[in-house]
Symmetry: C2
Subunit: 408 residues, 2 copies
């Protein structure tokens, strides 16, 4: 199951970026499972990686290379079918070998090649299958390769995910295009959220990193399917500079603001696409918490609701169960919460206030509010001016089925 549309939007080429998607037969013969992304010389690279202490070998190597190269990148090498996680020293060697092979054939420094893997945990990466297809990948690079790459990085995703915008700053037009994969915050066997975003704008490395960190904080870090965090999560933002502008050195400049807005739009769209394709998802749920003392307490309430199995099973049943919502809000750990001031809305319907069912509320209103595929749960804390939103899905039989039966 999944919610929303299956259609991949048109993805604009990004000057300075070429992509190739080839088949290495890592897990299934014939499956296009290796993606190579090339960035023009001089491209700056921002990146965020999983915070899980058990990070996969490619994450360790990608982080090392990225830092050693001074946050430049010439090639991103992505494989599906095997996460190269829980694979010890041999796994690290495999990740390094694949980068060295790209570097040798492309004539670049190995440290400018970053590896990414997604798929089954705990099996050694068949690195020779990957190195064998690198010549084909290098020969097949094209600036039109975004849509194929969006499909090539999928694991158990039911559809490719991408977003592309054109934006203008100081009279110059830029492109920002991104793809992502993942059908949960974690797919621990078929692990991982991956995101690759590129622009032709020239941006200084530190500014680019800040822009990515800001965008991830309100996009990929605001979605949850099951609360689990992958060992392989990564999101990369490339700035090729092919547009010819002077490198952006200030996020507060008109160019910086334009970049930030475009990046936010692309990252939020990609992040929401992960939730819409969430494991067993039959609902797309926005949990919006307003009136908090600060953003963090709004997020605490929002994530407590979004992670509650009882709320999620009620959502699956389209049951306007305000008691479960109040109970989740009440255990979110807020200091001195005055429950009599809390209001809870389903879409525009006030369902609970003063710690009880709202006087105006009827069960028919709640049932009608729960019927659509897209639902907004809004909590008004009425104790401050901060707000925050997260996006999540319901918990269905299919979630249990997918995750219980995956290895059997």
């Amino acid at each position: 199951m999944a919610t929303g549309t299956n259609e991949l939007p048109s993805l604009h080429p990004v000057p300075g970026i070429r992509l190739a998607t080839v088949s290495a037969g890592i897990k299934k013969p014939g499956r296009k499972d290796v993606v190579l992304i090339e960035a023009a010389e001089g491209t700056t690279c921002a990146a965020v990686f999983t915070r899980n202490a058990f990070c996969a070998a490619p994450v360790t190597v990608a982080r090392e290379h990225w830092q050693a190269s001074g946050k430049k990148a010439r090639y991103l090498l992505v494989n599906t079918g095997n996460a190269n996680a829980g694979t010890g020293a041999q796994g690290l060697q495999s990740a390094r070998t694949s980068c060295e092979q790209v570097a040798e054939l492309a004539g670049v420094d190995p440290e400018t090649v970053l590896p990414f893997s997604t798929g089954v945990i705990g099996e050694q990466l068949p690195v020779e299958k990957i190195t064998a297809v690198i010549p084909e990948a290098l020969a097949g690079l094209t600036d039109e390769g975004w849509a194929d790459a969006a499909s090539g990085i999928m694991t158990t995703d039911t559809r490719p995910k991408g977003c592309s915008v054109r934006f203008t700053a100081d009279g110059r037009e830029y492109t920002l295009t991104g793809i992502s994969k993942g059908a949960g915050m974690i797919r621990p066997n078929m692990a991982t959220m991956l995101g690759y975003v590129a622009t032709d704008m020239a941006v200084e490395a530190e500014v680019l990193q800040q822009a990515l960190a800001d965008a991830v904080a309100i996009s990929f870090n605001r979605v949850t399917v099951d609360g689990d965090t992958s060992t392989n999560d990564a999101c990369v933002l490339l700035a090729t500079g092919a547009a010819g502008n002077d490198p952006v050195s200030d996020l507060g400049s008109s160019e910086g603001i334009a970049l930030r807005d475009a990046l936010q739009e692309v990252c939020v769209t990609l992040a929401q696409a992960l939730v819409r394709d969430g494991e067993g998802a039959s609902k797309f749920v926005t949990v919006q918490v307003d009136g908090g003392r600060d953003e963090q307490e709004c997020l605490d309430v929002a994530f407590t609701i979004a992670h509650s199995p009882l709320v999620k099973t009620a959502l699956f049943a389209s049951d306007p169960n305000w008691g479960r919502l109040l109970a989740a809000i009440g255990r979110a750990g807020l200091q001195d919460l005055d429950v009599d001031k809390v209001g809870v809305f389903l879409n525009d319907v006030l369902i609970a206030e003063n710690g009880c069912r709202a006087a105006s509320y009827t069960e028919e209103q709640g049932v009608a509010a729960m019927a659509p595929e897209d639902i907004v749960i809004r909590v008004e804390l009425n104790r401050g001016n901060s707000g925050a939103s997260v996006w999540t899905t319901d918990f269905s039989y299919d979630y249990v089925k997918i995750n219980a039966e995956y290895r059997t």
Copy 2:
């Protein structure tokens, strides 16, 4: 589904305690849904209540009465079928009215009557149905009433839960008997964990409270089905003093230690019984974390594992999915965790070490270890001398079914 035995053990009467279980027809005609527990004059009462900010009306009133009476209690009045939660001012009045009725008929101070409710959230308590049966309850009090009361406090529990021990201190014999209900940490419509434990030992109020707090910390607070916390949770410990000892004034005395040990045994048994009867439970899982720097970090790891939907669905599938266990450990938020030192065991089988599958491990061993109903997941952090255990269940189709279909 449920794990373990259905049989209620023999529950010894506690001198000074009488119980009655009667039918008020709160939700279903004929269902025995009201329990009255009488404690002899002079009984001291310890109590712990839900930390959920949205606490139910009876919790508010019970806490008020308990404090106002100087931590004495003469009557506990429990109803099922209606949680009297999310019911506002009228709900508070209903709880007070029921206590006043008991007090008037029994000739005691209303503040020595504590009310407890469990059942559907958000519907007003039909208090007149309860007050109507109080004369019958008072007339039916008997010291043999524990087993009936264990059944009388059930909601969607599939079986009654009780535990009873006799213990000796300084040559004197004492009895400690308890009952509990709940098939999850929360049943948000059929809400609540409730526990009632009594002894004939005389114990000073502050000592009794400390003994209960200590026991709850390692029993009821160590179990989780779904991570949700009820609006109605409560656990009460009564000490009637009918054994005739001088009131215990020191938990470190031989009598205090004997009380602590007996209470721990009873509370752990009652708490584990909740998990064994957990919603949709097909496994009883002990998550034991050793080698931590302090108890809290062991608990953080244990609860992260116990709450992970991905671990829980793997348990349902009897899948020895060590990758999901490592991923859960890795996101538990431990500072400077050296993943290469972490070992993970299923029962006695080492399944993961050095951040990978253990060299000695075979899939056959894992499948064999996962086969029994009772499973121990043991994590060795190898960075300190602290340890902690929690108990949980798997996530099954039935969990989704029970929680998705409850109101439909």
